[in-house]
């Protein structure tokens, strides 16, 4: 049941993975439990560190919006993304145009090859 999966080139064993994961998890939790638990809740000792500034009340002001995630990735691949997003115009008949182009391309090449 909990068997190994033999691909032609190697194998994957669920039981061994879970065993190793359990050992590593146990080690991590033991390390985490070595911390101090004599802090006072709700005072300054419990607050996050925000570069020494006053932490705002609303979480809205601290969080990084999702549109700025992977900003560097997007900026580095700017030419590629401009062309790719330019292709997704959102016009309904463009999809039909692409479909006809693909079928025409395949038809021409299958008759040649």
């Amino acid at each position: 049941m909990f068997g190994t999966v033999y691909t032609g080139f190697g194998y994957w064993d669920v039981t061994s993975w879970i065993l190793f994961f359990g050992i590593a998890a146990g080690l991590t939790l033991w390390l985490r439990a070595q911390g101090r638990d004599d802090y006072k809740e709700g005072t300054d000792q419990d607050e996050i560190y925000w570069s020494g500034n006053v932490v705002p009340e609303d979480g809205e002001d601290i969080s990084v919006p999702a549109s700025s995630a992977y900003w560097g990735f997007r900026k580095a691949l700017e030419p590629y993304y401009n062309r790719l997003i330019g292709m997704h115009t959102g016009i309904a008949t463009d999809i039909v145009g692409f479909y006809v182009l693909v079928v025409a391309f395949m038809a021409v090449f299958i008759l040649i090859a």
Binding site: I85, H88, T89, G90, I91, A92, T93, D94, V96, G97, V100
Partner: protein, 115 residues
């Protein structure tokens, strides 16, 4: 060659309507073009079943003819016509709702979902 005329008509209709779909800007014209494509395909199916000099494919009414037209494509065509009817009706009601929301029937302006 003259016997192949229906198939030439099918080809011309299909290609004309296909070009119309991505050249036209008005949604109603695009819906009409889709309807023409359905008609072309139905014509193709009916024309497939014809045999030269044959009579209708009903046994008791055939008369003296011994060769009958194939009935299967006729059944296929009837089904395809009904399906095209349902789809055209739904497509037209969707276009009507699009007009109510967007105020325009121009395909280039109905693109709030893009990117």
């Amino acid at each position: 060659m003259i016997g192949n005329a229906p198939f030439f008509v099918v080809g011309i209709l299909f290609l004309a309507a296909l070009v119309a779909i991505f050249m036209e800007k008005n949604l109603i014209k695009i819906a009409i073009a889709i309807s023409i494509i359905s008609s072309a395909v139905n014509l193709f199916l009916v024309a497939l079943g014809y045999r030269t000099g044959a009579t209708i494919p009903i046994h008791y009414l055939a008369g003296e003819g011994t060769v009958m037209v194939l009935p299967t494509p006729q059944a296929m065509t009837l089904t395809a016509i009904v399906i095209a009817l349902a789809t055209t009706a739904l497509l037209l009601s969707i276009i009507m709702l699009v007009y109510r929301h967007y105020g325009t029937l121009n395909v280039d302006e109905i693109r709030r979902l893009r990117g």
